[in-house]
Symmetry: C2
């Protein structure tokens, strides 16, 4: 398969993405100088805009892009940006997209308030557009995202996580938003509830495949490419699918030894011992096969839509998510 | 005048407040253990519930309390609680309502996420109840509150604040939510737009009077009663109405000397010199007279409503706000 990338994937909606960037920029304007300054800085950080891409492609596949599709795209991008700004506060992250983070430049206070501002700005656009169907989906998603993160924090503390809990966490914290993007796109373009459901599920499966792949990259990625050292999740005591599978495959004694190592996780040797353990029990192969399974499920959801360039682009996006190395 | 207090004020809706506390408790239940644990802790902190009181009294005055009034009361209390949880993160506050703050017990990460959770939980209740009119008002309020705080941060850094900017800040960060409470109460009870506007303005004026009084207490309050030392705002370089008036009344030289003192604000003597300066130029009397003016404006807004116990309670609340010593 040809190497795909986001620029190629977004080709069918190239002009629509340019228009999106303009309306997104307009939506961020504020009369309060500091707000304007911070939002201009956010625009300079140049996010990948995967979520607006999903909204617009889904809309095009389901019937066609219209004003409501643009409002939906702005809503999810504002919501996503708000989440990132808050995430950087809670993780005390110094960098975001290669630039100093908002909290690094303006301190936590401004960052927490800006996150609240961006979220309410997005919701207000939906309210003003009378997109009440979007609001229902989006507020439920914000709730699920915070619940997913909080569930992960709790499980991280106790180190008792099974496959079922893992799927609940990644579905809530990651897949819910991608699913929302695709559903909002379909909703904006078509009144057909089969289309809406199919796109909802497409986004959910895509999100699960994406997060599993993300978790795998913590074990096998090249630290040069992904820009962070391997084993970061282990250091933070986050137990993800490759490790869960390995722990279930090992003897009880082997598993409890590994859990002990995770608890006293500071040393470099411990991390590499855990990596070796996961590889020995084929944790990575297993996780890859599950991610692949979800990628097929995702593509299956697209079957009811007529063939089009945009549909091919969504399929290519699924492949991209599965094959990415960073 | 008799000394009023919140218990007396809430008498006309005593049974309704009991019902509110029950539904509020139910609304906080979550299947995620950690969320449930934190919300139970929040319930133990026992807030004064001034905002639900305003919603319910306004509803009763405007026609009568119904299910929608309760949903509105839950929405504003969840929103207010979310703001407090985020505020404690940004201020690194250790205490809230006499108990350790959420960030002190569970760290910043949980506190930021819980704030997002509480906000989305509130919005979701409004969405599910199809209270789209509430949503418009509330999302606009969240935006105004964060803009107001951000404007204050910017002005605090530069120390260039005039009366107009001061009123913009307190209207956005404080009065907007109280105004929202009263408007939502009226909306739930009556389709009469004059009632809704009157209650909106009542809340706005009440909020402005409340915040001016709050700012005055930083200059004259008894530290034993208000539980924090005098001059806290000056230490944080927050210039409020008493000081703005004094600065405008003084000569340019006197004013610039005071500004210099505020900049190097660490010393105890500086704070007391600034307090003396404000008193010398009658900053406190002036601010009190402005607060009183807004309290009259607020009461005037109630004139179109028929006399009732609840209307008297709202008037008593205005007096309480103006006369409070903490």
């Amino acid at each position: 398969m040809l190497k795909t990338n986001l620029t190629q994937i977004s080709k069918p909606i190239k002009s629509e993405l340019i228009r999106f960037n303009e309306v997104f920029k307009d939506s961020l304007k504020s009369k309060v100088g500091l707000v304007d300054l911070v939002t201009k800085y956010i625009l300079k950080q140049k996010g990948k805009k995967v979520r607006p891409l999903l909204v617009l492609l889904s809309a095009k596949v389901a019937g066609g892009i219209n004003d409501r599709s643009y409002r939906g795209a702005i809503l999810v991008e504002l919501l996503h940006t708000a989440t990132l700004v808050h995430d950087d506060v809670v993780d005390s992250a110094e960098k975001r997209r290669g630039m100093p983070s908002i909290n690094a430049v303006w301190k936590n206070k401004v960052a927490v308030l800006m996150g609240d501002y961006l979220l309410s700005r997005g919701l207000l656009i939906a309210v003003e557009g009378k997109d009440f169907d979007f609001l229902k989906i989006v507020t439920d998603t914000v709730k699920r995202m915070s619940e997913g993160e909080l569930l992960q924090i709790k499980k991280t503390k106790k180190l008792d996580i099974d496959e079922k809990t893992y799927f609940k966490i990644i579905s809530d914290k990651t897949a819910s938003l991608l699913s929302t993007c695709c559903e909002i796109g379909a909703l904006s373009a078509s009144a057909n509830s089969e289309y809406q459901n199919a796109m909802h599920n497409f986004g959910e499966y895509l999100g699960i495949a994406f997060q599993i792949r993300d978790d795998i990259l913590d074990y096998v990625g090249s630290s040069k490419i992904i820009g962070k050292p391997l084993g970061g999740d282990i250091k933070e005591k986050k137990i993800t699918l490759p490790l869960i599978y390995a722990l279930n495959s090992a003897t009880e004694k082997e598993a409890s030894n590994i859990i002990k190592l995770i608890k006293k996780n500071k040393k470099r040797e411990n991390i590499s011992e855990i990596l070796t353990f996961v590889k020995k029990f084929n944790g990575i192969e297993y996780a890859n096969s599950v991610a692949l399974e979800y990628s097929y499920k995702a593509k299956q959801m697209l079957e009811i839509f007529p063939t089009s360039e945009s549909k091919l682009a969504l399929e290519a996006l699924v492949d991209f998510v599965i094959e990415r190395k960073n």
